[in-house]
């Protein structure tokens, strides 16, 4: 009955259409009129086409055995061939690096950087969230500043800093750790290991932004945990460390996981630092490889291999997102970090 009262109106059809039933339940007797149901279905399917267009396109490409570029639009696989995936797994780039190495490098960087940042950040977040102390404001602003600075902004000093740690073999055969020891004629000798040109170095560089992010994200969450539990623990005689480890950490565990995975999603795509710092193919990451497969460098890369690589790079992030969708969305919008 209520549905018919507004249909004859001519005004604001668009709004009325989209809003027809946000009112939700008005008794079980009311049903969506069929014409409207069909109209919504048509719209929904159009949106499905919009969403699925690039996805189907890339899946179709990746399942094609043709290494030539597509001459016409194909959105459904005509054949199911895993040859492109196989080729990418066998020899992902022209460089002498195996897929397993690329995968390992990407995973190591994203998991280890995320874990270390979290480990170091959690006590700081707790201090900011629970204690009142003199320098609180100043220190919090200090942690916030790097979040506003683009990662590129830190890259030059980090490059120079990390580049100054080198293991060298001097002319006289001695091994020295530059800058603490130097070869006899200064700045000579063969470099055995350069911290800047290594995964460890890139990891350190990535921590420079991952750590402040983790502190802010966790602090935002700890602020939402009610203090009553901790107070009860105090009354029962727990000291501050016991409260932290036995009350706060277990309560914060879900958010620790979310912060870790948010970091993982970001680090998995990290491009700036590795691309600037790493020179040896054995250290390359999947994100770097994907970039190498497109644009000016990629005139010789078959598109089916590019498509297979794109899917491989997307999968871990997609899985994490799908598993943690709700927490991630609320963590991003309701959490402490915005910007």
């Amino acid at each position: 009955m209520a549905t018919t009262t507004y249909t004859p109106k001519k005004k604001n059809f668009f709004v009325r259409f989209f809003t027809m039933d946000t009112s939700g339940s008005k008794g079980s007797g009311e049903k969506l009129p069929l014409w409207r149901q069909l109209l919504i279905q048509v719209l929904c399917i159009l949106i499905v086409i919009e969403v699925m267009f690039p996805i189907m396109y890339i899946i179709t490409l990746s399942l094609s055995s043709k290494s030539t570029r597509p001459s016409s639009l194909e959105l459904f696989p005509k054949e199911i061939s895993f040859i492109a995936f196989k080729q990418v797994l066998d020899r992902p780039t022209a460089n002498p690096v195996t897929f397993i190495e690329l995968l390992k490098n990407s995973f190591l960087l994203s998991v280890v950087v995320g874990a270390i940042a979290l480990l170091i950040a959690v006590t700081a977040a707790y201090a900011f969230s629970r204690f009142k102390f003199k320098l609180r404001q100043v220190l919090m602003i200090m942690v916030f500043i790097p979040l506003l600075m683009p990662a590129v902004g830190l890259s030059t000093p980090l490059f120079l800093l990390l580049n100054s740690f080198q293991l060298k073999v001097c002319a006289n055969g001695a091994t020295v750790l530059y800058p603490f020891l130097q070869c006899d004629p200064v700045n000579t000798g063969r470099v055995l290991f350069n911290l800047r040109d290594s995964l460890v170095g890139v990891g350190i560089a990535m921590i420079s932004t991952a750590l402040p992010f983790a502190v802010w994200n966790l602090k935002g969450y700890l602020d939402t945990i009610p203090k009553e539990l901790e107070e009860a623990a105090y009354i029962d005689g727990a000291d501050s460390n016991q409260t932290f480890f036995q009350i706060v950490l277990p309560l914060a565990a879900p958010q620790l996981a979310v912060t870790f995975f948010l970091g993982f999603i970001g680090h998995w795509q990290e491009f700036v630092m590795p691309w600037l710092f790493l020179t040896q193919p054995k250290d390359y990451t999947l994100a770097m490889t994907l970039y190498n497969m497109t644009g000016q460098y990629a005139s010789s890369i078959p598109w089916n291999r590019f498509a297979a690589m794109a899917i491989i790079v997307a999968l871990p992030v997609a899985l994490v997102y799908i598993l943690l969708q709700k927490q991630i969305v609320s963590g991003l919008t309701a959490g402490g970090v915005k910007g």
């Binding site: 690039p54 683009p150 830190l154 750590l211 600037l276 598109w303 790079v313 997102y321 915005k338």
Partner: protein, 335 residues
Amino acid sequence: MASISLPAKHKKRLGQSFLPYLYLLPAFAVMGVVTFYPLVYQVIISFSDFSTKDLLLQLNSPDLHWIGVQNYIDIIIGGLPVQNFNFVRVLVYNFWWAITNVMLHVPAGVLIATLLNVKGIWFKKVYRAIYVLPVVIPPIVVGTVWRNIFDEQYGAMNQMLTFFGQLFGSTSTVHIRWLFEYQPPISWLLPTGALPLAYYAMMIANFWLGWPFMTLVATGALQSIPKELYEAASIDGASKSFQFWNITVPLLRPAMVPAAMYGFTLSFNLFNFVYFMTGGGPARTTEILVTFAYDLVRNLRLYGAAGAFSVIIFVVVLFIFLVTNKLTKATESYA
């Protein structure tokens, strides 16, 4: 009892006013080396002509000249030895890019969420699962895939246009140079420099990437609106559009404003997507601030200027943060 704050109590009982600093120590020790030292260093070299010649001896380099704020002046008035660079144009484009994105994503996200919130539509769960897909795909992948889609010769977009053209009897194939055409389609749109076709291509790609997140947020917010409000309104005889503007929109606002702000800052600094899709081209017309900063370091190797540019970006982002924070706070108290 509950009103007594923990730290005060704690201080009184154990006298451990150093405790918070102890908790902060690990993080600040690490950040001191890898975050704050580079930040300060960056600011220092922004006042010098630091470039490749100084890489070895760094600040001790005899060739290093302290040039005051010359880098900042050069960036703003265009004195950098860089082709096609105009700071004001890049800045205005960057803001335009972020604003136009959010202006498309938020309304689309809300409308689609509202559509999916209609009671009793079929396959609701299937649609929701499909619509979330763009959110879960990393932007570097989205950027590269759309780059291929907009390829002039083999790209899916031109092929699709060709297909539709053939439906209407056209026999020619479409060859639009989406990412490389320099001639802007609408020449008057932005006073500081017209928008190339690549901008529209990126808007299409980023629209695909952007609205599903807004839908996700709006869906959550819609579901938390009490149904009684609508019942009461319809009993009072309020029309559906009245309900939309006076119940749905105001109650969505506390959720959508932070999401829009988040989307704005995200788009403003969308390095991976822009860099992987166009690299700022053609002729730097789709360059945003962060991609140019990267170019200064990576290709032009003007480290001093890059330092100054990062400081400028910081100021711009800080300004955006303060404004968006204020807007967000203002709307929080609304509902």
